[in-house]
Subunit: 334 residues, 2 copies
DNA sequence: TTATATGTGTTAAGCGATTGACACAAAATG
DNA sequence: CATTTTGTGTCAATCGCTTAACACATATAA
């Protein structure tokens, strides 16, 4: 492949000058610019990103670690991150931890090896001291910060509140709250708190709590657990699902049991993945502004790369997307 | 960050020796190995992948271009690719073309800039001459080869045949064939051919063809088109959906119209994304062995990186996954 | 007419590794 | 004892690009 030197020779210029053109430094005449780009064209020159990164001591790559790629929520996050990164001329180095801490740690090392400009951590939580001083910022996406340098999250407490109010508004009295993740200090925890706090102000409603184990982030199969929950509490009339995936599977299972949504039981999901609009009825859900959140992550990393200081915590609002699973009227017209 | 030099100093060895340990070249005593790894530990040394790549003139990164990340099919492909790449100690550089050729071409250039070990192209098709001689192999995933160096695909013709036979077996006589992509020389084309060829051998069945426009790969919303199709041909009793996403939305829309699946109309999807098992009824579909296909892609690139020659075309078999959307009996028991 | 701004070239060091040539031990083998 | 194998060190070049220092033009402004 052609190198800078070749381009310089072809253009009849020195390497220094060509490099100046590429990096827009110092004074360059229009004519020189033309000659350089002509030569680059001629030779199909592609600057060697490795060499550049080596020189600059940092690359234009951003690491991303997700627990699962095929989970629609993370697929959406990934998609938004890619789009935001592209706008800033960064590339994504993708890693899937499958929820395993050992893989997470390995991937953090690989990121460090590759001198990424930053790391977006959507997965678990590497423990104390493992993250600091890697020379690049670590941004936690919808995770508790632990050792990250910054956190981007949405208002999960408010999300829980919205869900509870929606079910109560629709007339539900016997509620179920199914949390996606059982571990402590996860976003799902805060959602549950918001939900339960609202319920407590309504003495007429009654709530049962259930927990799905976190390993289902990968296989996405919540059916066995959901069946158990529904067996245990068969006549709930309103269910808050900790994620849309739980909500969708819940509707499918309820259908199999002959319970109609929303006539017999109403469901509120969480995340607003695009699948939530592809079920019948469509799933009412708490929407996270994932696009904005992803953009913020990238912006933080770009800022840090530019030597600027970064906000340690950014919180985004959520909103209720009312659809057919809580409102009969919404079932009719699409 | 610590460099090789630092490690050498810390271990009381020379740079050459340490490099030998890292790359397992020449003779090294056990004691030296110990001292090196102790020093690396001490200094939290992470070899600089940029420097290494520059020296070796190739990196351990593999580029992947998909048209959409949030599409469950590509999310699955991506997930399998990541897993396979990890096994071979490669990393994934992720790009989303959104179906735009201009972005594809840009991304191919970025890959070239980054001296990737290879590129897996799951998206569209960069035209003549744009791909050859980049210095790394381009593997087309479920795409026609055009200018790629290798292709990995599954037997789409057989998939179409299987779908037709399944619907006919179930007693359907008035079929619809909805192709996901209208363009020529796409895998969906071959699927349709297989489907139609089988239908032709059954004079008692009648088929209507429909085409969805390819832009829905990104937004995933096929509803408007599907509604039109169903309006046009409201009494079909068997539908072959060109992809599971089409199949799922079809079932949702049919539900809204009061048509029962599988009693009134039977559906066969394509791909077997995990969502196909989360609907009610579950979706019968043609399964692609995506895991194996992804592994093959990575293997091809690793082979090429090792200087070996690579197969220009690899085809995998598909299989029918019979579920509730074509078989009433399968609706009852999960 | 000085100064200052603008445009270009040369040179050399550095980024952090890899790699090969060569030298020189000590240990194992014949 | 001579030879081969094993283990380590030194040195220098290379990968392709960035960047600073310095020199030398010409053009423009004060």
């Amino acid at each position: 492949m052609a190198t800078l030197k070749d381009v310089a020779r072809e253009a009849g210029l020195s390497v220094g000058t060509v490099s100046r053109v590429l990096n827009n430094r110092g004074y360059i005449s229009e004519e020189t610019r033309q000659r350089v780009s002509a030569a680059m064209e001629q030779l199909h020159y592609q600057p060697n990103a490795m060499a550049r990164s080596l020189s600059k001591r940092s690359s234009s790559m951003i690491g991303v670690i997700v627990p699962s790629i095929s989970h629609p929520y993370f697929a959406k996050v990934l998609s938004c991150l890619e789009s935001a990164a592209h706008e800033e001329n960064y590339q994504l180095l993708l890693f899937c931890s499958q929820g395993k801490v050992s893989r997470e740690e390995e991937y953090v090392r690989v990121c460090s090896s590759n001198r990424v400009a930053g790391l977006v951590l959507c997965s678990g939580s590497v423990k104390t001291g493992k993250l600091r001083n890697f020379g690049f910022p670590v941004v936690a996406f919808e995770r508790h910060l632990n050792e990250a340098d910054a956190g981007v999250e949405c208002n999960n407490y408010e999300g829980g509140e919205l869900a509870a109010r929606e079910l109560i508004r629709a007339g539900c009295r016997k509620l179920m709250c199914i949390s996606g993740i059982g571990e402590v200090s996860m976003p799902a925890d805060v959602r549950r708190e918001g939900f339960l706090d609202v319920c407590r102000t309504h003495p007429e409603v009654e709530v049962q709590e259930f927990f799905c184990s976190p390993e289902h982030l990968e296989d996405l199969n919540y059916f066995p657990e959901l069946k158990r929950f529904l067996d245990e509490d068969p006549d709930a009339d309103g269910i808050f699902a900790g994620s849309d995936m739980i909500g969708i599977q819940l509707m499918s299972e309820l259908g199999r049991r002959g319970r109609r949504v929303p006539q017999d039981v109403r469901i509120v999901g969480y995340d607003d993945v695009n699948l939530a609009q592809m079920t019948n009825p469509q799933l009412t859900t708490i929407r996270q502004p994932v696009e904005e959140m992803a953009r913020e992550c990238i912006r933080i990393i770009v800022k840090a790369a530019g030597g600027q200081s970064i906000p340690s915590r950014t919180m985004f609002p959520v909103s209720l997307e009312r659809r057919g699973s809580t409102e009969l009227a919404d079932c009719i017209i699409k």
